[in-house]
């Protein structure tokens, strides 16, 4: 092959990573789809109808609709942060896959782009399934819902990169417990998914604004019940900022761990 000058960022590595993931996905898509569909259904039944029978309406919405839209964001968090953390850690430490990839014309930032983009697109699209389930449970359809995949993928990019970054920070795979309990659980709960943040104490309301998931919850809810253009632009900006920050930290962390 003739020597050619390669660009700093190329798509070939991303396609290579996707090729691998698609090959695996063809084998696992049934179980992934099962989990993505059944889990939100259970949540909706338990919270929507369980709590819903006690609460009726909350923040002006039927509780089942409130939760149905909230679960979309929750799914975007979990379907991206967990693979970002565990898959990346396992491939780096146990399988040495990244050593093999970095011996080819692939740089660390391209590897991170390939891994995170796959997780984000897969996780972002699967996290729209709860919305379909909520529609079955009576959520009124709206044209804005077509924008939901954009919001969930954007959210998932940030959390996938967060997971990749965390995989370079933890000293062992067991240390992910700290991340799950200490970071992901508060993010998941204080985001307006199961209850509105307006009812929280002032400090918690302020904290919620720094929670990327809160911005995703708001966007999904507005997509279903009506956009508020300026506010929603702010939410998109917050998610983009989160993803950018996580990109810098994930690439820096992976470079530190993979290149000595």
């Amino acid at each position: 092959m003739a020597d050619t000058r390669l660009r700093r960022f190329e798509w070939a590595p991303v396609r290579g990573v996707w090729r691998r993931e698609l090959a695996l996905f063809r084998r696992y898509w049934t179980s992934t789809s099962f989990a993505a569909t059944v889990e939100p259904t259970i949540y909706l039944l338990a919270f929507g109808f369980g709590f819903g029978s006690l609460l009726g309406h909350i923040a002006g919405y039927r509780y089942v609709d409130f939760v149905g839209t909230g679960i979309v964001a929750t799914a975007a968090l979990f379907t991206s942060a967990f693979p970002g953390m565990f898959n990346t850690y396992i491939r780096r430490i146990y399988q040495h896959s990244y050593d093999a990839v970095l011996a080819t014309p692939v740089d660390v930032h391209e590897l991170v782009a390939g891994e995170a983009s796959w997780i984000a697109v897969k996780g972002g699209l699967f996290s729209c399934v709860p919305l379909l389930v909520a529609l079955v449970f009576g959520l009124p359809p709206a044209a804005g819902m077509f924008a939901v995949p954009v919001f969930t993928v954007l959210t998932a990019i940030g959390f996938a990169l967060f997971g990749v970054w965390m995989s370079t920070v933890v000293p062992s795979i067991n240390s992910f417990d700290y991340v799950i309990t200490g970071v992901l659980t508060p993010i998941f709960l204080v985001a307006g998914t199961f209850f509105p943040v307006d009812g929280l104490p002032g400090w918690a309301r302020t904290a919620a604004h720094f929670n990327p998931l809160y911005h995703c919850v708001e966007l999904v809810r507005h997509a279903a019940f009506g956009f508020r253009p300026l506010t929603d632009l702010g939410h998109v900006g917050a998610l983009a900022l989160f993803a950018t920050l996580m990109w810098v930290l994930a690439v820096r962390g992976m470079r530190r761990r993979l290149i000595d």
């Binding site: 092959m1 691998r20 040495h96 093999a100 011996a103 080819t104 014309p105 692939v106 740089d107 000595d260």
Partner: protein, 311 residues
């Protein structure tokens, strides 16, 4: 271009920080030229700096001092271009176990930028190299150790590289698989591919390498063709004496007094340059059942130069 070395290292130093904060010098002022189109062996025991040197050539490890070029590309500035035209076969098996044989090769054909039109042909050729044409759909987890190693080699060759780095290619393999791989490496060199191979198997280097460098403590202690190195440092033949410790100590003293190098390995003293043993010394040493004469090898050279065993 053909006259330029495939790899040059000039005064390369690599230090690692230990857990207690002190520095370990893994590669200590390494200067080496690997000519294009040859099979070159990097020999030395574990910890000699061979793998670190290999990693520096792919820029996965960054030199603290010195200059490196690979196929004319300065490293790390143009390492991506260099990696596009070299193949790497690591010591650690890092095949994707969840994928099939063919899928493993396809992923790397993408990563190595094999053009779409040639990808299928490249993968088929790599399957032939791996001798796995009848198992393209088998998942790697179900392959034997020898098959996995052949696939690992074929994966590094999927883009027909001009240079191949083989890090301990046959470590832990049974003799048949090792012989297969030696045939493959010899064929690559015959086709004009430059091969840099690190090994601590002396026989491997003697059979395959056109030239070799002996490494110890991050430095090159000798360099040349295996034949020249043996002739220069260990002579033509070696006489091995087996016996109790007292007798061995006596033999060592006698031989050193005669000015010949010796080597002690367990219950054996080897007298190097045995063809120069004078008749008087030969009489004193005796020639009973416990004496064996053999040709000198690179292991002898290594022990003479460093006092360490390679294997």
């Amino acid at each position: 271009m053909a006259d330029l070395p495939a790899i040059t290292l000039r005064d390369v130093v690599k230090r690692y920080r230990d857990k207690d904060g002190s520095h370990i010098t893994a590669v200590d002022g390494l200067t080496l030229d690997v000519p294009a189109g040859v099979c070159f062996g990097l020999l030395g025991p574990n910890g000699a700096g061979k793998s670190t040197t290999m990693r520096m050539l792919t820029a996965q490890s960054r030199a603290d001092e010195g200059a490196i070029t690979v196929l004319g590309h300065p490293i790390p500035a143009e390492s991506k271009e260099a990696r596009a035209v070299m193949g790497v076969v690591p010591q650690t098996d890092n095949l994707d176990e969840e994928l099939t044989v063919r899928q493993n090769l396809e992923v790397f054909a993408h990563l190595y930028r094999v053009p779409r039109a040639g990808r299928r042909g490249a993968v088929d050729r790599a399957l032939e190299i791996a001798q796995l044409t009848d198992r393209p759909g088998t998942r790697v987890v179900n392959l034997s150790g020898g098959m996995r190693r052949r696939l690992l080699v074929a994966r590094g060759l999927v883009h027909s590289p001009r240079l191949v780095l083989l890090d301990e290619p046959t470590v832990g393999l049974d003799p048949q698989v090792r012989a297969d791989l030696w045939g493959l490496i010899a064929a690559l060199r015959d086709e004009g591919t430059t091969v840099l191979m690190s090994t601590h198997y002396i026989e491997e280097a003697e059979r395959l390498a056109d030239g070799c460098a002996l490494m110890s403590g991050g430095r090159i202690v000798a360099q040349g063709t295996p034949g020249d190195l043996i002739a220069h440092h260990a002579g033509g033949s070696v006489e091995e004496h087996h016996g109790p410790p007292d007798r061995l100590a006596e033999i060592e003293a006698l031989v050193r007094r005669a000015g010949l190098p010796t080597r002690r390995t367990g219950p054996t003293v080897s007298v190097l340059r045995a063809e120069h043993i004078p008749p008087s010394l030969a009489d004193a040493l005796g020639n009973g059942d416990r004496v064996v004469r053999r040709a000198a090898n690179l292991e002898d050279v290594f022990v003479v130069l460093t006092g360490e065993n390679v294997g």
